[in-house]
Symmetry: C2
């Protein structure tokens, strides 16, 4: 057993002072000198992030932002997890159509359902947003919010990605998980602002990203409150409430968050307005786009892609001071 | 300079142990034995609140709720601040109509505006919700969200209540401010869920109640994102997006929060469904109604009132286990 004491008999008082120093919170916090973003390669983007977070959280610095205003928004598909060969929610919809098909014999002759049941996803999606919305409503509406969540949770637990064979929730980006943690450790409040369905995202966002349901913004169907089987329930109905994409993203941010973000991260032109709205605020602001340029470890696509198309962001982003994150160059590791 | 060395005397070791005890966080937190709700009289309601918060935050207790699920929702008008002789937002609308009247000569001949300009608020409101919505749209839409906030902030800074002569933000209920603080100190996340306008509430909710914009749920107009004067802006448009009242409240909670509250507090039948939805969750839940029964210190009204009518809540609430808070009996003080 050892005790700490000055050599001569200067006594218990000094031991006490020493203990105060050892135990003080300041001592603990200064010990955090380890790399907060280990899956990021050293480079200008990583340095820009750390510099931004450090200066905006340092009292007295010209960039300082009070904690209540530290709002960071993240797109989901292609930004926090993969989105190829199709948005994962579309794959859920296809699986759900196959599951529900026995109760809907008319789907065998009705597009886009008939194509899904034949396994022809490309034809099913050839009708664009309208076809996707039709399928979303057929699979998401008429049930209670609790039943819908349960169905998504069951699917996430068992479904596997067609190419990687991994659970979808394992196809999240490790560098982004680190960034989310790093921001929260610095009193940033992290939000998802996605074109995907708000109720779909909420099923896994808390467990996978540490983002609670009340910090998820997304597209939504209308809902109503009424009794079902003798208890009050929220029923999802087959009518679009809000599409949280493109110019809808700043509007979704306005409805749900009510103030302009400080940090915005996306990966496609669907995020352009969100980054633009963020960057148009008084400095300091940080807008970033994830560029999918790593064919070996994930996928490589931008200008010509049917999913996550990125043209305007690449052309105008750098001139606007937005950071383009190269998955190939900036990320040491892609998946956890 | 001092060095550390083992020593025979037990003195310094005891000093160190003492320092550890004195400095340990447990010692600090156990020191909080003061009354968290000093403006509440001792009684069954105060005891029920403290008991609920204590047991739901005590690990190992059968009522324990993990921090992420600790959601508490509060109505605003009549629950957090007064609502007589009219919802304060209606008084803002009337003032704003008078302010904008020179640009709208047609209002002199158009109801409900003409009545407002004659100072006849009763006639202006005789058209019910439709008349109020018409006036809300005329005064809330066509401007940017930032302009609207500024207008409300200016009004709150200068307008005075017709009866008390106090600023509206001084007519908040001290016992409720204490309850909000007490809940947050116990890791409850506090939300407003109001029939009032979400953008109106957000102007003062953070400063007055400690509730940030992203934790405000309310009625809303639609909005769009577009350039105005060369910069991107959120424009409020003259179309109702959502009415957050009665059966709309559980739906608003679903859209914005995405999970069922644990605590719900209201004061009128407009809050009935919110309390019902909260109470229908698995135990433990706490639903409470503020009863305006103090004519001397505030107002006294319930079953017959044109504002904040409370009938079903009084008839059915107690049988459902909801607490009826008597402003007269339960509150030592009303205003701060």
């Amino acid at each position: 057993m050892y005790s700490f004491a000055p050599e001569k008999s200067t006594g218990p008082l000094l031991a006490l002072l020493l203990a105060v120093l050892i135990l003080s919170p300041a001592t603990f916090s200064h010990a955090q000198t380890e790399d907060p973003l280990p899956a990021w390669n050293d480079g200008s983007n990583k340095r820009a992030i750390i510099d931004f977070v450090t200066t905006t959280t340092t009292e007295g610095h010209g960039n300082f932002i009070p904690p209540t205003k530290r709002i960071a928004v993240f797109d989901n598909d292609g930004t926090l997890w993969s989105e190829q060969p199709l948005y994962f929610q579309a794959l859920y919809i296809f699986d759900r159509i196959r599951e529900l098909a026995p109760d809907h014999p008319e789907w065998q002759q009705t597009e886009p359902f008939a194509s899904v049941l034949k396994g022809d996803h490309e034809s099913a999606l050839s009708g664009g947003t309208q076809a996707l919305l039709k399928m979303a409503m057929a699979t998401h509406a008429g049930v209670t919010a609790a039943e819908f969540s349960e169905s998504v949770a069951d699917w996430l637990a068992t479904a596997r990605h067609p190419d990687t064979g991994a659970p979808y929730t394992a196809m999240v980006f490790q560098p982004m998980l680190e960034l989310l943690d790093y921001l929260r450790a610095n009193d940033y409040k992290t939000f998802i602002v996605s074109g995907g369905g708000i109720d779909f995202l909420r099923v896994f966002a808390e467990e996978v990203y540490g983002i609670p349901p009340e910090q998820v913004v997304g597209s939504s169907l209308k809902a109503k409150y009424e009794e079902r089987n003798g208890t009050p329930a929220i029923i999802k109905i087959a009518e679009v409430d809000f599409i949280d994409d493109k110019a809808g993203k700043p509007v979704g941010i306005h409805y749900h968050i009510g103030r302009r973000p400080v940090i915005a991260v996306g990966n496609s032109d669907g995020d352009f307005e969100m980054l633009e709205w963020t960057a148009a605020g008084e400095a300091p602001r940080l807008s970033m786009l994830v560029h999918h340029d790593d064919q070996d470890r994930e996928w490589s696509y931008d200008r010509e892609s049917h999913i996550g198309r990125l043209v305007r962001g690449l052309d105008e982003g750098p001139g606007r001071g937005w950071k383009i994150i190269s998955m190939k160059e900036d990320w040491k590791r892609i998946f956890p």
